[in-house]
């Protein structure tokens, strides 16, 4: 259980170690000899990005945290055009941001192998939607690989670079929350000399406007070439080490990626033998030669894949043309929503083969649901001492809850939960400002419009995080200022990209290669011509409330930068340095049991004591910000004499 950085750089081929899927992909990229890696973080892809950042200097790799996925994509793409093996990584919705460049660049091809790692999130453990990147890959005509184990995640990464270089075509490595976040045993391969010797490689770019300038006259040549390439790769995949046929029988199961794992476990749980399996690691393009071989002599087939019927559609398309006349089951018995698992595989295979399930899952679910519905919910919450809580509290106080509160994607999205209830809309990163602006136009009109019988101005206060501001907030705020919006925008600047695990951004100015340039948000909005700009520290709740009130007195685009470093980040650093935190406590003589602290502020360290009927602080959860002192009207919170 050594440090991740040591494990990923471990120069011991054939050694067996335990790695997280994302760490294994980092290792695979190193074994492939990448030179450039650029990404914007996003769960469940972030551990890959952070691992490359942590080892970049020790492996001679250039790594950057780009401001968004599109920029990251372009950075890595042009490194590939310069002959370097390069990579970018993102969560599934990141590909939407990169899509404009992604869709158009496919036909330009690559020089150095270029791999796009995209991490999907079936069941949406930490995402806003459940889109299946395999569909996107098919749409763009980009081959997609999908691992079923941590070993495959590593080996496939290396293979992806080889395929990309061989066919001069970009390749997607698609993981899911499960494959990214599962640990498994991995046998290491060899690291190339350049990586071991920390040798940073530089590329060279050869001009070729016919290839690299996508004016229509040039682009018309791309599409036929793309399709031709995909057919070649399809043929190559007939012999891919990640696609195989196993077992024998007249009954077939085709399965892709991690679903293979669930099928294997389901079959052994059901005690079913005599099933022929086609295991696919390349859901697009499906290797039809292998499919043809597999189908020979089969009487019926089931296709088990997670989310969309990507493999199923390709196979049914093929089967129709071949006039293959056997039943092919798929999404009619395998769920199309949420994550696949062994139970779902057992249920689908039992239906397919008319078998009893080994457990009565319906009964189990029923008795479980009875219990579960009576349990107190425990959604994630803002940390103790989180500055976002203070900002929302101040906004609620200043606006007396009369404002519409568009918000954005980040830790602060949790402001939607009680007791703050301070988030009314979120869509996608950067969306807060566009939505706030649109609401302002719809409800108030633009400031330069002449509108008769205008009603009272609807107060609109948007919140957006610092990282999100640089990601996609910038064009949106330019739009709002230009088009004379009437909104307050509070940048909740915790000086880090917190939600995804503390990555730096232009507001922190740090990069994996040393200090970059810090770009203060106040300078940006000043330069853009915002009507009001003020920076405030949310740990001072009174001052923050006053600043919001002051902003409410004028019209225009008013920007408040509420700046206080992320508590989780700060406390982590303090703990590492051995610095003790102050701990607060409740003076039960002063506490009236009014619950204002609990019902309006909601710090997880503040709990209710059923015996004394007063508030109490759970000492192990208090991170010592002292905000509770400012919240309690009776002065009941104080520093504990003895910090635990």
């Amino acid at each position: 259980m050594a440090k991740v950085t040591d494990l990923v750089l471990l120069n011991k081929p054939n050694e067996k170690i335990l790695l997280l899927g994302n760490h294994a992909i980092a290792r695979g990229a190193l074994e492939a000899g990448i030179a450039v890696f650029a990404a914007y973080p996003g769960t469940p892809s972030s551990e890959l990005t952070d691992t490359i950042a942590a080892i970049a200097k020790d492996a001679g790799v250039y790594m950057e945290y780009s401001t968004n996925e599109k920029v990251a994509f372009e950075t890595a793409l042009s490194a590939s055009w310069s002959g370097l093996r390069s990579m970018t990584a993102m969560k599934h919705v990141g590909l939407n941001v990169a899509a404009d460049s992604f869709m158009s660049a496919v036909g330009m091809g690559v020089e150095g192998g270029f791999v796009i790692m995209v991490a999907d999130d079936p069941s949406m453990w930490s995402s806003q939607n459940e889109q299946d990147t395999r569909v996107f890959a098919k749409f763009a005509n980009v081959p997609v690989l999908e691992p079923m184990s941590v070993q495959e995640a590593k080996d496939m990464t290396k293979y992806a670079f080889e395929i990309s270089e061989k066919y001069k075509h970009m390749v997607i490595l698609r993981t899911t929350t499960r494959s990214s976040h599962m640990r498994g045993d991995v046998t290491l391969g060899e690291l190339p000399e350049e990586i071991i010797n920390k040798k940073r490689r530089l590329g060279s770019f050869e001009k070729n406007p016919k290839r690299f300038v996508d004016i229509p006259a040039h682009s018309r040549n791309f599409h036929p070439k793309i399709l031709e390439n995909i057919e070649k790769i399809r043929t190559e995949f007939n012999n891919s080490p990640f696609n195989w046929i196993e077992g024998e029988g007249k009954i077939g199961i085709i399965t892709s990626g991690l679903s293979y794992a669930y099928v294997k476990e389901a079959l052994s749980w059901l005690n079913v033998e005599n099933v022929k399996i086609l295991k696919l690691g390349t859901p697009f393009p499906v290797p039809l030669g292998l499919v043809e071989k597999f189908m020979k002599g089969l009487e019926k087939v089931l296709i088990v894949e997670e989310l969309e019927p990507v493999v199923e559609e390709q196979i049914k398309f093929w089967a129709y043309d071949k006039q293959l006349n056997i039943p092919i089951y798929g999404k009619n018995i395998v769920p199309r929503i949420f994550e696949m698992d062994t139970k779902r595989a057992v249920i689908a295979i039992s239906k397919f083969l008319n078998l009893e399930t080994p457990l009565n899952f319906e009964k189990l679910e029923e008795s479980y649901n009875n219990i579960n519905s009576s349990l107190p919910p425990r959604p994630p919450s803002l940390c103790p001492a989180c500055p976002h809580r203070n900002t929302f509290f101040a906004i609620n106080k200043a606006t007396k809850k009369n404002a519409i509160l568009p918000s954005d994607i980040g830790c602060y999205t949790l402001g939607v939960l009680p007791p703050l209830n301070a988030v009314d809309t979120t869509v996608a990163m950067g969306g807060s400002i566009g939505i706030a602006h649109g609401l302002s136009i719809a409800l108030n009109g633009a400031l330069n419009e002449e509108i008769e019988n205008k009603k009272d101005t609807q107060l609109i206060v948007a919140t957006i995080g610092d990282s999100t501001f640089y990601h996609t907030g910038l064009p949106a705020i330019a739009n709002a200022i230009y088009n004379r919006s009437n909104v307050i925008i509070v940048v909740v600047d915790n000086e880090i990209t917190a939600m995804t695990g503390d990555q730096p951004n232009p507001g922190t100015g740090d990069t994996p290669h040393g200090s970059g340039k810090r770009i203060p948000i106040e300078n940006i909005v000043e330069a853009m011509g915002a009507d009001f700009v003020e920076v405030v520290n949310p740990y001072n709740i009174k001052k923050t409330t006053e600043v919001v009130k002051k902003a409410m007195e004028i019209d225009g685009v008013r920007v408040i930068i509420s700046r206080q470093v992320c508590a989780l980040h700060r406390v982590g650093q303090m703990k590492r340095k051995g610095i003790k935190l102050p701990v607060f406590t409740v003076n039960t003589d002063k506490c009236t049991g009014c619950r204002i602290c609990i019902n309006t502020f909601g710090c997880p360290a503040i709990s209710w004591d059923n015996e004394t009927k007063k508030a109490k602080i759970v000492p192990t959860m208090c991170w010592g910000c002292g905000s509770c002192i400012q919240v309690c009207p009776y002065g009941a919170f104080e520093v504990a004499k003895e910090a635990e």
Binding site: L258, V346, L364, W608, T620
Partner: protein, 201 residues
């Protein structure tokens, strides 16, 4: 060697659950097993309800323990044991830290935290499983720091009847995993958990 062993670890984000799972994973690897550890990162880590899986044996492929197949549930918080009780096999075992952490909604008076007796009753009667709870946090304090609560619980876990991993291998993994300053503390926490569970079984 067992062909399949399934451990479910539950609790509240921030309690050291991922570390515990990782430690058990390395132990199983050291004993020569094929290993899968499943964890959820991201949003739920922020004081939300968390579940993690440790599985090993030649029949194991995926990272998630199938419902109804966990040999044991190791819970860092009582209500979280109940929240994932559907994973436990018939006649399985629940080890839990007895200290509740109230969700905000309970403090607000919007939801009720079940009593200790109620939790025990549901596990024992509705799920026909064995329920063992003790104050692991207190033992961790005795060892020197509350942070070692997860190691106390792992110590307890080794006392599960027919538990396939040897305590000695776990001690070895602890020694190479934690910083030298806290090896003694963690080994002590491990022994305290082990002894406590042994006395309760």
């Amino acid at each position: 060697m067992v062909k399949e062993y399934n451990i479910v670890i539950t609790g509240v984000g921030g309690q050291g659950i991922l570390t515990a799972a990782n430690l058990l994973g390395w132990t199983a690897l050291r004993e020569g097993y094929k290993v899968r550890v499943g964890e959820v990162h991201g949003m739920s880590q922020r004081f939300g309800s968390v579940i993690s899986y440790v599985r090993f044996g030649e029949n194991v492929y995926g990272a998630m323990v199938p419902e109804g197949k966990a040999d044991v549930i190791l819970s860092f918080e009582p209500v979280e044991a109940l929240r994932y009780i559907n994973y436990l096999k018939k006649g399985g075992l629940v080890f839990t830290n007895s200290r509740p952490i109230w969700p905000v909604q309970v403090s607000m008076g919007l939801a009720k935290y079940p009593s200790h007796e109620e939790i025990k009753r549901i596990v024992e009667e509705d799920f026909e499983a064995k329920y063992i709870s003790f104050d692991a946090e207190n033992l961790a304090k005795e060892a020197g720091n509350v942070i070692s609560t997860n190691v106390v619980l792992i110590g307890a876990l080794t006392q599960t009847p027919d538990f396939p991993l040897s305590p000695e291998t776990i001690r070895e993994v602890i020694k190479v995993s934690v910083s030298p300053k806290v090896i003694e503390l963690n080994l002590k926490a491990f022994e305290l958990g082990l002894k406590k569970a042994n006395s309760l079984l």
